[in-house]
Amino acid sequence: MIINHPLLGPRDAAEFVYLGDASLINRPDASSDDAAQAFYEYLYLRDNPAGEHKELWYHEQGDRSWLVVTRNTLTHEISKVEIARDVARAAGGSA
């Protein structure tokens, strides 16, 4: 599988480490009243879609960037690759 890195171009998936669902970026607010429930859902509840899935990949043997990769879990087709920091910042995060 080839991941088309936004900065480096096409790279073999062997250079990357897979973490999981990209929703892990959206860490709940620990100081909110429903923090316990929010963290339970954040940690344990996952969608398992047959189709398009946004996921986190780490370019460990490359530029050490975190990426959000949109991949079809049925065909392995990768339709979008973004730098995770850009995704987090666009969503209002402080990364």
């Binding site: 480096l8 790279r11 250079e15 043997q61 490359g62």
Partner: protein, 192 residues
């Protein structure tokens, strides 16, 4: 009582080989410093590099050479660069060469002892490397002045193109012998 003096030795004993038109030479006098900048500190660092070394800050995958021609800046990842320059143990700590000039605009770490460097060159160098390197090394895709960090035979490698048929390859000293074995074997297997 005798006075002992420690003398640093090259990781691979100054390895040199010429085989099937591919030359492999260990680079034994290379100072390597890692330079990282704070968040949004790229512009300040670029200014201090321009002033001190007369070159601009390379983008990721890019290489810039100082105006003296002796120092190479490799763009390894966002906000991090490796600086390579000729350096021998008698000249003191390699870190001072960079750190004193950049001041507070960068975080500098001496990496000289962590990497083994091999200059691989010759008309068939690319034939040897294409067996182990997952990066497309064709001149049109990976021209002179390009750097990439990747794996070869499961070893992390930084590869820079220094000439049309010349590459500088760096890998961890802890697995230097395996790295050398991977390259020499790939050269040996050239059938062309």
């Amino acid at each position: 009582m005798s006075n002992f003096t420690f003398v640093s030795q090259p990781v691979l004993g100054g390895f040199k080989q010429e085989c099937k038109g591919v030359s492999i030479i260990e680079q034994t006098k290379l100072g390597i410093v890692s330079v990282a900048c704070p968040n949004d500190g790229d512009a300040a660092l670029a200014a201090s590099i321009q002033k001190a070394f007369g070159c601009s800050l390379p983008k990721v995958s890019g290489v810039e050479v100082s105006d003296s021609g002796t120092m190479r800046w490799l763009g390894l990842q966002p906000q991090q660069w490796f600086v390579l320059f000729e350096h021998s143990a008698e000249q003191g700590a390699p870190l001072a060469t960079i750190k004193d000039e950049l001041g507070d605009t960068a975080y500098c770490t001496d990496q000289s002892d962590s990497w083994v460097s091999l200059a691989v060159s010759g008309p068939l160098a690319i034939t040897a490397l294409e067996r182990i390197c997952p990066i497309d090394l064709h001149l049109s895709v990976f021209p002179v002045g390009t750097v990439a960090r990747t794996t070869m035979e499961h070893l992390g490698v930084i590869i820079t193109r220094t000439g049309d048929e010349e590459f500088l390859m760096m890998s961890a000293t802890s697995s230097a012998d395996s790295f050398l074995h991977a390259i020499t074997l790939s050269v040996k297997n050239i059938t062309a």
